[in-house]
C-alpha cells in the first residue's frame, strides 16, 4: 500500500508577515450561488467544529454537523479553564503578533512550522473581536475594557479569560453562532452520532459512516468535503483530564484510510492535577497551574513516611523543586515539574493512599499573607479541590500529581489544513499543526477558533474551486463497503464474549502508556511498551466482553470501538517516541539529556515533522519527514535556569 506520498506543506513563500494575506489573495473563490451546491460534513462540535460549521454555513455552504454528545454544546472544549491568548496589546506591555508567534514557536521547542504559527498569532486578534461580538462575557476592568492576565511561558499579559470557564464561554459563543445557522436551515445537526469510517472515492474524501448511538443504526452521509474536528487522543492513557468521550476513533480510521499521522508521541502532561485516589478512578481533574505561584511542593525525606503532613517536621521535608531548580523553584516549567514529581514518587516518597502524589502546601503563604489573600486568589479552586477530595486545603496541603492533558500530535495537514487525503480537512486538537512538541497554556483555544472561524472558510473554497467532484450517492460501492466493514467490526466486538470488560483493557493500556510512553521515555521502555501493547491488543480481540447488542444505546460497545483504536494508536505513539532520538518539548528521552537533566534537542537529525503512513501492518508504519525550515527565528536551547 505504501505509495510515494510527497508531503507538500503548501507553505507560501515571502515575508512572514504577509504570507497569509498573500495566500488568501491567491486562493480561488467559489461563487455565492455555487456555494449552495456544496455539502460539507463537519465532524465534531468543539471550538474548532462549531466555529467551522457556523462560518461555512454563513458563507452559504450546506453543513452537516456531527457529535457524540446529546448536544453540540457539550464538546470537550467546554472544560477549558484558563484562557485564550491574543496579541491585542491592550496593555501596552510590548506585546505584538511577532512576540506571540515567537513565544509559541519557542514554547513548542521549534518543532512547528513558522508560517502556521505566525498565522495563528495574526488571527488571534480577530478571534477576540469575533467572540466579544457574539456576547462572550470576558472578564472586564472597571473602565469597561477587556481584562487580561499572564499565563505560562509569556512575559506579557495577553490571556483573555472568562472566570475559570473560558472554554465554556467561547464554545457557547461558537455553538450559538452555529445554532443560528441551524435556524437558518444551513446547518443540520446530528448529535449522538459517532463517525466510524471515512469514505474515500477516487482518492477524495466523499463521506462518512456514522453509528446512530441511540438506535445503533449505521448511517451514510455524502459530502463534498469532510472537516474533522474531533479533538485530541489523550484518553489513550485512560486517566487524563479529557472528557470521557474524547477519543481517537475518527482520526485513527481516517489514518487507516490513508491520512498521515504526525508526531503521535507529543503528549503534554500537566503537573498539577488532583491525584488518583483508587482503582475506581475514572478521570483526573486539572487544578490551575497558577497555584504554584503560592504553593510549595514537597514530599517527606524518608521513604514510606505515612505520618499526616502536619506532623512531619520542617527538616524532614524535601522541597524538591526548590532544591533541584533553585532559580525557578516551584515555578519550573510544566514538563520539568511533572518529571520531578514522578521521580520522587518512583523513589517511593510519594504521599497519599496510592503513593502517587506530592504535597502542594500553602501554609507558608497563609501564614505570611493571610487566608483572605488565598481565598480571593484561589477560592474556587480550593473549593473544587475540597469537593473532590473531601479535604480542606486551607488546613492540610493539597495533593497533586501530573496528568495527561493535551496531544500536540494529530493528523498531518498542510497550510490549508488539508490532510493527505484530498477533501479531508482536520482542525483543532485533531491536527498536529501549530504547537510543535509542546503547547503553551491558553493557545489551544486560540488554535481551534483560528482554524474554524478564519482559515477553513478560505481554504475549503480553494479546494472546491480547483477540484471536480463527481456526483456520488450513498448507494456507491465505497459506502457499501465501508458500511460492511464497520458492521463487521462491531459484530466482531460483540461476538468475542470473553471475560474482560472494555474498562479493564482501557485501564491496562493506560498503565502501559503512562509507565513507558509518559513523561520520560527510553528506548528499552518503549520496546517493552510495544510488546505489551501488542499482547494486550491480542488479548482484547480474544477475551473482550461487551454486553448488549448493536441495535440499541450501548455505551460499552462505543467504548470498545474506541479502545480498539487506542490499542492501535498506542503502538504508533511508542514507535514514534522510539524513533525520535532526541528530547524536545514534552517528549523527553532519558538518553538525551544534558548532565543537569535538561532536554537535549537534536536539530541536526530531528528537525522535522514525523508523519506516519499506515501500511496495513501496525508494527511497520512508513515514516515520511516534513523538514522544518526556520527562516525567521533561530532555534535556541529552551532554558529554565
Amino acid at each position: 500500500m505504501a505509495t510515494a506520498i510527497k508531503l507538500d506543506s503548501k507553505v507560501p513563500s515571502g515575508p512572514l508577515e504577509s504570507r497569509w494575506t498573500r495566500h488568501k489573495d491567491q486562493l480561488k473563490l467559489v461563487s455565492p450561488t455555487n456555494k449552495r451546491k456544496y455539502t460539507i460534513l463537519v465532524v465534531g462540535t468543539g471550538l474548532a467544529g462549531a466555529s467551522a460549521a457556523a462560518s461555512l454555513a454563513e458563507l452559504g455552504y450546506n453543513v452537516k454537523a456531527f457529535c457524540i454528545q446529546d448536544s453540540p454544546r457539550r464538546a470537550h472544549s467546554i472544560a477549558a479553564q484558563g484562557g485564550i491568548n491574543a496579541a491585542k496589546n491592550y496593555r501596552n506591555d510590548g506585546d505584538s503578533i511577532w512576540r506571540l508567534f515567537y513565544d509559541t514557536i519557542k514554547g513548542g521547542d521549534f518543532r512547528a512550522r513558522e508560517a502556521n504559527v505566525y498565522r495563528l498569532a495574526e488571527l488571534s486578534v480577530n478571534i477576540i473581536d469575533q467572540c466579544v461580538a457574539q456576547g462572550v462575557p470576558f472578564a472586564r476592568e472597571y473602565g469597561g475594557l477587556l481584562d487580561t492576565r499572564s499565563f505560562g511561558g509569556a512575559l506579557v499579559e495577553r490571556t483573555f479569560y472568562a472566570r475559570g470557564q473560558t472554554g465554556q464561554q467561547l464554545l457557547l459563543g461558537a455553538y450559538s453562532a452555529m445554532m443560528r445557522q441551524v435556524d437558518a436551515g444551513r446547518v443540520t445537526l446530528y448529535p449522538r452520532r459517532e463517525m466510524l469510517d471515512l469514505v474515500v472515492i477516487n482518492g477524495q474524501a466523499r463521506g462518512i459512516v456514522c453509528r446512530n448511538l441511540i438506535t445503533g443504526e449505521l448511517e451514510s452521509y455524502v459530502g463534498d468535503a469532510v472537516v474533522l474536528c474531533t479533538g485530541g487522543y489523550g484518553n489513550a492513557y485512560f486517566l487524563a483530564t479529557y472528557a470521557k468521550n474524547s477519543n481517537a476513533t475518527a482520526i485513527w480510521r481516517c489514518h487507516k484510510r490513508g491520512a498521515l499521522f504526525a508526531n503521535p508521541c507529543f503528549t503534554q502532561i500537566h503537573p498539577t492535577c488532583i491525584p488518583v485516589t483508587g482503582d475506581y478512578q475514572s478521570k483526573l481533574t486539572l487544578m490551575s497551574e497558577s497555584l504554584r505561584n503560592d504553593g510549595r511542593v514537597w514530599v517527606p525525606k524518608k521513604k514510606g513516611d505515612t505520618r499526616p503532613p502536619n506532623e512531619i517536621p520542617e527538616d524532614e521535608r524535601d522541597y524538591f523543586l526548590e532544591r533541584k531548580y533553585p532559580t525557578y523553584g516551584n515555578l519550573a516549567p510544566r514538563d520539568i515539574a511533572s518529571r520531578a514529581v514522578k521521580a520522587v514518587c518512583d523513589e517511593g516518597r510519594g504521599v497519599g493512599a496510592t503513593g502517587r502524589a506530592v504535597y502542594l502546601d500553602f501554609s507558608d503563604t497563609i501564614r505570611e499573607k493571610g487566608i483572605e489573600y488565598i481565598k480571593e486568589k484561589y477560592g474556587n479552586l480550593f473549593e473544587m479541590y475540597q469537593h473532590i477530595t473531601g479535604e480542606d486545603p486551607y488546613k492540610v496541603p493539597m495533593r497533586i500529581y501530573p496528568a495527561v492533558h493535551y496531544t500536540m500530535g494529530g493528523l498531518w495537514v498542510d497550510y490549508n489544513l488539508m490532510s493527505t487525503i484530498p477533501g479531508l480537512f482536520v482542525l483543532g486538537e485533531a491536527n498536529f499543526s501549530d504547537h510543535g512538541a509542546n503547547r503553551l497554556g491558553a493557545s489551544a483555544l486560540m488554535q481551534g477558533l483560528a482554524d474554524g472561524y478564519f482559515i477553513i472558510p478560505y481554504t475549503i473554497g480553494d479546494y472546491f474551486a480547483n477540484t471536480t467532484l463527481p456526483k456520488v450517492s450513498p448507494e456507491h460501492s465505497a459506502f457499501k463497503e465501508s458500511l460492511a466493514d464497520v458492521h463487521r467490526f462491531l459484530t466482531k466486538l460483540l461476538s468475542i464474549k470473553g471475560n474482560k470488560t472494555v474498562l479493564e483493557f482501557h485501564r491496562e493500556l493506560g498503565m502501559i502508556l503512562w509507565d513507558y510512553v509518559g513523561m520520560a521515555r527510553n528506548a528499552q521502555g518503549l520496546q517493552i511498551a510495544i510488546e505489551k501493547i501488542r499482547k494486550l491488543r491480542e488479548e482484547f480481540w480474544n477475551n473482550l466482553k461487551v454486553p448488549g447488542d448493536n441495535n440499541m444505546l450501548n455505551k460499552n460497545l462505543e467504548m470498545a470501538g474506541r479502545v480498539a483504536d487506542f490499542l492501535e494508536l498506542a503502538e504508533l505513539m511508542a514507535i514514534d517516541a522510539l524513533h525520535r532520538e532526541e528530547s524536545c518539548g514534552a517528549h523527553f528521552r532519558e538518553e538525551y539529556q544534558t548532565p543537569d537533566g535538561e532536554a537535549l534537542r537534536n536539530d541536526e537529525q530531528f528537525c522535522y515533522v514525523a508523519a506516519w503512513e499506515y501500511t496495513g501492518d501496525l508494527g511497520k508504519p512508513e515514516l515520511h519527514k516534513e523538514p522544518l525550515v526556520f527562516e525567521f527565528v533561530t532555534p535556541t536551547v529552551r532554558s529554565y535556569k
Binding site: 457539550r74 480577530n126 462575557p137 475594557l145 470557564q165 478564519f454
Partner: protein, 251 residues
C-alpha cells in the same frame, strides 16, 4: 477520611422508550467513600457485565461539572444532595453507609427517556436555535474594545451565561418548565450591548419555542434555582418576563 461503605442502589431500568421501566435494587459492598457517584455506577456496571446482566446506561462526559451531560434524580433531588453541583460531582462520603440511593431519570414530556437514566434533551437545543444567539457573521466584528461594557454588567451577564444546559431545572420544576434555562440565555444576551438589536425577536421566539416543546409554565416554585448546579437565580426568569413585556409593548 476514607472509609469503606456498603450502598444499595435503587435504579430505574428501562430498556427503551417503548417498554415500561421499573426500579431494580443493587447492593455494592466495600466501596471507598472517596468515590464519586458516577464511579460507583461504573463499578456496578463492571459487576453487572461480568454477571452477564445489562449495565446501567447513564450519560456523562467531563465528569467535572461543566459539560452538563450528566444528570438524574438522586433520592428525589435533581443532581443529588450537595447543592451547586452536578451528579458527577457528588461523592459517596456525602451518603450514609448502608443507605439506599434512588436514581431516577429526569422526567418531562419534553425529555423522553431513551434508556435507563438517559434522556433526550434536544428540546433545549431547539430553543437555542430559535434565538439564543447574536447575529454576527464571522469576520464582521468591530474591535473588541470598541464598546466598553461596565464590569458589573459583564459580571451579571456571566452569571446568566454560566448555565451548562443540564436540564436539572426542568427536571426539578413541579411544572417541568424550562423557564430558568431559557431565561438565563435571554438575560445574558439582553444585558449586553451586542444583544440589543435582536432583543424583541429573541424573547418572543425563544418563549414560543419553549412552549412548543411541551415544557410547563412557571409558577414561581423556585425549585429550579435550588437544584441548579451553577446557582442560576430565578431573577433571570423575572428578567425574561420584563423582556417579554417590553416586546409586547413594542409590537
Amino acid at each position: 477520611m476514607t472509609k469503606k461503605m456498603t450502598l444499595h442502589l435503587r435504579i430505574w431500568r428501562q430498556p427503551n422508550p417503548h417498554t415500561p421501566g421499573r426500579f431494580v435494587t443493587y447492593t455494592i459492598r466495600d466501596v471507598s467513600s472517596d468515590m464519586s457517584l458516577l464511579e460507583l455506577l461504573d463499578v456496578l456496571n463492571e459487576e453487572l457485565i461480568k454477571k452477564g446482566e445489562p449495565p446501567v446506561e447513564f450519560d456523562s462526559d467531563c465528569r467535572e461539572g461543566i459539560c452538563g451531560t450528566c444528570g438524574f434524580l438522586v433520592n428525589g433531588v435533581a443532581h443529588g444532595p450537595k447543592r451547586g453541583r452536578t451528579a458527577c460531582q457528588q461523592y459517596l462520603r456525602d451518603f450514609k453507609d448502608g443507605e439506599t440511593i434512588t436514581l431516577e431519570p429526569f422526567r418531562a414530556k419534553a425529555f423522553p427517556v431513551i434508556k435507563d437514566l438517559v434522556v433526550d434533551r434536544s428540546a433545549l437545543d431547539r430553543i437555542m436555535a430559535a434565538g439564543g444567539y447574536i447575529s454576527v457573521n464571522t469576520g464582521s466584528a468591530p474591535d473588541a474594545n470598541s464598546i466598553p461594557i461596565p464590569k458589573e454588567i459583564a459580571e451579571q451577564a456571566f452569571d446568566a451565561a454560566a448555565c451548562i444546559g443540564c436540564g436539572a431545572c426542568v427536571a426539578a420544576c413541579p411544572n417541568a418548565s424550562a423557564s430558568l434555562f431559557v431565561s438565563a440565555k435571554i438575560a445574558h444576551l439582553a444585558l449586553l450591548p451586542q444583544g440589543q438589536p435582536e432583543r424583541i425577536r429573541r424573547v418572543l421566539r425563544m418563549v414560543e419555542q419553549m412552549d412548543k416543546e411541551g415544557f410547563g409554565d412557571c409558577s414561581n416554585h423556585g425549585e429550579c434555582e435550588a437544584v441548579c448546579p451553577k446557582n442560576i437565580s430565578i431573577k433571570h426568569i423575572a428578567i425574561m418576563r420584563r423582556e417579554y413585556l417590553r416586546a409586547l409593548w413594542s409590537l
